[in-house]
């Protein structure tokens, strides 16, 4: 990366940090909410990218081998997510009102789970597991470049199986801890799956955009248009999955209409939040569903880029709607310079870490046993 570009990306991050600090003086919850948003979006991309890699290993999916270094480099963003988690942890007193349960019978009852020592311990467990397993998968993949031994593939199949189990539990609980506990009176058992659906969708779109970008460069000459088409098909499939899970959560609550459950949706469906609530459905489901339904749409690169952008905006809006309403205390949605800068700095921070990881190693895993099959992919 040219140093001018690196300076630009770094300065975006620095300006955002300054802006967040300044906002923190006046509206601490808004500033911390923004950090939490950045964390949830970034973590979703990182863990979703590793989910993609693990899926290919477990299913012996050959097609994605030529582009695997891109999701692998996306997992290099995990330290950034860990740093943001530290900031969120430091701001726990302002973010999570279960920290002060006194006088609230429900929260006092939930203290068994929602208490600071256990919360801290859980965060430590999640991140150690993620660092361990993702580190092993990436390490084996890279070691294969050196010695070309297929044993690394077998080892990664086992680590991928471990990742799937660990990820399913840890991501679900991390979503409960970091996001759902912003409204500690409310609970939804599907919340982790819902967050996963959006996270994997965003990981797929980011991967697709990066593949489209790098395909034009020589270093990824084995990536063909058909690989992009396959990614487009996955985006299409998972936008339906997202809508399915979104609706599964919504419909049960809407149907039974019990106050302790509807408390989540009522503020989000009223006042100035209402248009955002429906825009969320449109960006995450309607646009990619109708946009990628056709045969040619999945093969038209400029169009695909537009749909990916819409889905990424949808993910940001989705996370905004998860995090911000409980922190704005009955106000309408606030979207100003600090939100815009936070979103921009996710991209900046992501690109900085991504580039750093990507160029450390050969860009094509040519010693993977399935590499040839992947390079000769055909529809």
């Amino acid at each position: 990366m040219s140093s001018a570009r690196r300076t630009l990306l770094l300065s975006v991050c620095v300006v955002t940090a300054a802006m967040l600090l300044w906002t923190y003086q006046q509206q601490p919850q808004r500033a911390l909410g923004n950090v939490l948003m950045m964390l949830v979006i970034l973590l979703g991309v990182v863990l979703g990218a590793c989910f993609f890699i693990a899926l290919q290993y477990l299913m012996k999916g050959a097609w994605a081998v030529v582009l695997r270094r891109i999701p692998e480099a996306l997992t290099g963003l995990l330290p950034a997510a860990a740093a943001l988690t530290v900031i969120v942890w430091l701001g726990h007193a302002q973010l999570y009102h279960w920290v002060h349960p006194h006088g609230d019978v429900l929260l006092e009852g939930k203290q068994v789970f929602l208490n600071m020592p256990f919360f801290t311990l859980r965060l430590l467990i999640y991140f150690s597991l993620w660092f361990l397993i993702i580190g092993r998968i990436v390490k084996h993949s890279r070691a294969q470049d050196e010695d070309g031994s297929p044993t690394h593939t077998f080892a990664n199949v086992r680590w991928s199986a471990a990742y799937m189990i660990v990820f399913a539990l840890s991501y679900s609980f991390a979503s409960f801890d970091l996001v759902m506990s912003l409204e500690p009176h409310w609970f939804s058992t599907i919340f982790g799956v819902y967050n996963f659906a959006g996270a994997f969708l965003s990981a797929l779109t980011v991967t697709t955009l990066l593949v489209i970008y790098y395909r034009r460069k020589d270093c990824f000459k084995d990536i063909q248009p058909v690989h992009v088409t396959f990614l487009a098909k996955l985006i299409f499939a998972f936008c339906i999955f997202w809508a399915y899970i979104w609706f599964s959560q919504f419909m049960l609550i809407w149907y039974s209409n019990i106050p302790e459950e509807t408390v989540y949706f009522i503020p989000r469906m009223q006042g100035a939040w209402r248009p955002l609530f429906f825009a969320n459905l449109a960006l995450n489901w309607l646009v990619p569903f109708l946009g990628l339904l056709g045969y040619r749409a999945k093969r038209n690169i400029p169009w695909l880029v537009c749909v990916c952008m819409a889905v990424l905006a949808g993910r940001a809006l989705d996370v905004y709607l998860m995090v911000m309403p409980p922190l704005s205390h009955g106000h309408g949605p606030q979207f100003g310079a600090v939100e815009l800068l936070s979103l921009a700095s996710i991209a900046a921070l992501g690109l900085l870490f991504f580039k750093r990881t990507l160029h450390k190693h050969p860009l094509a895993p040519t010693h993977d046993p399935l590499f040839q099959e992947s390079a000769q992919l055909h529809e």
Binding site: F250, M251, W254, Y255, L293, Y295
Partner: protein, 176 residues
């Protein structure tokens, strides 16, 4: 008088030879009747110059039909024909209708898509196998069938093309 239709078969032992022969035959303007292979050969559709399948449109029609039928059925039964008050919700409560609408969309899309595939591919119990099952094309041979309509096939050129691309054997085939 019935038209005189015969097939000139090129029999190959390798899918790559079949692919290159098919591509060449398509470019030289031969009337490619069909290819017979033991398994689906990637890229054969393009090599044969087949047009893009219309199956997607048929499936879309099926999906839309299921969507409309399901919504119409539910709205008509629960709001017009016999209005029932469920939990104080409006008679037309779209969220309650979505699961059935989704299921019927998927069901009719799938069934009509399946029917469309069978129809377009001329499959089904009435199918009379022609070359299929003969000359080993269900186990280890790859066959390119060129059609001769009222003896319009340039036999010399076809024979040379097939041999040039590695055919093991060339022979006439007539449907009885």
């Amino acid at each position: 008088m019935a038209a005189d239709i015969k097939f000139y078969l090129g029999i190959f032992d390798d899918e790559h030879k079949l692919l290159s022969a098919t591509r060449a035959a398509q470019q030289s303007g031969f009337d490619i009747y069909d290819c017979y292979t033991p398994y689906a050969v990637h890229g054969l559709d393009q090599a044969m110059g087949l047009a893009h399948s219309k199956l997607g449109w048929i499936a879309l029609f099926g999906g839309l039909l299921g969507f409309v039928v399901a919504l119409h059925l539910q709205i008509w039964t629960s709001a017009y024909n016999w209005p029932i008050n469920v939990g104080g919700k409006p008679y037309i409560s779209l969220p309650a209708f979505i699961p059935i609408t989704f299921e019927l969309t998927v069901l009719l899309c799938g069934l009509i898509g399946l029917g469309g595939m069978i129809t377009l591919g001329k499959l089904g119990p009435t199918l009379r196998p022609s070359v299929i099952g003969k000359h080993g094309c269900t186990s280890h041979r790859f066959i390119l069938a060129l059609r001769s309509y009222n003896q319009n096939l340039d036999l010399g050129a076809a024979h040379n093309l097939l041999l040039h691309h590695g055919a093991m054997e060339c022979k006439w085939y007539e449907e009885s």
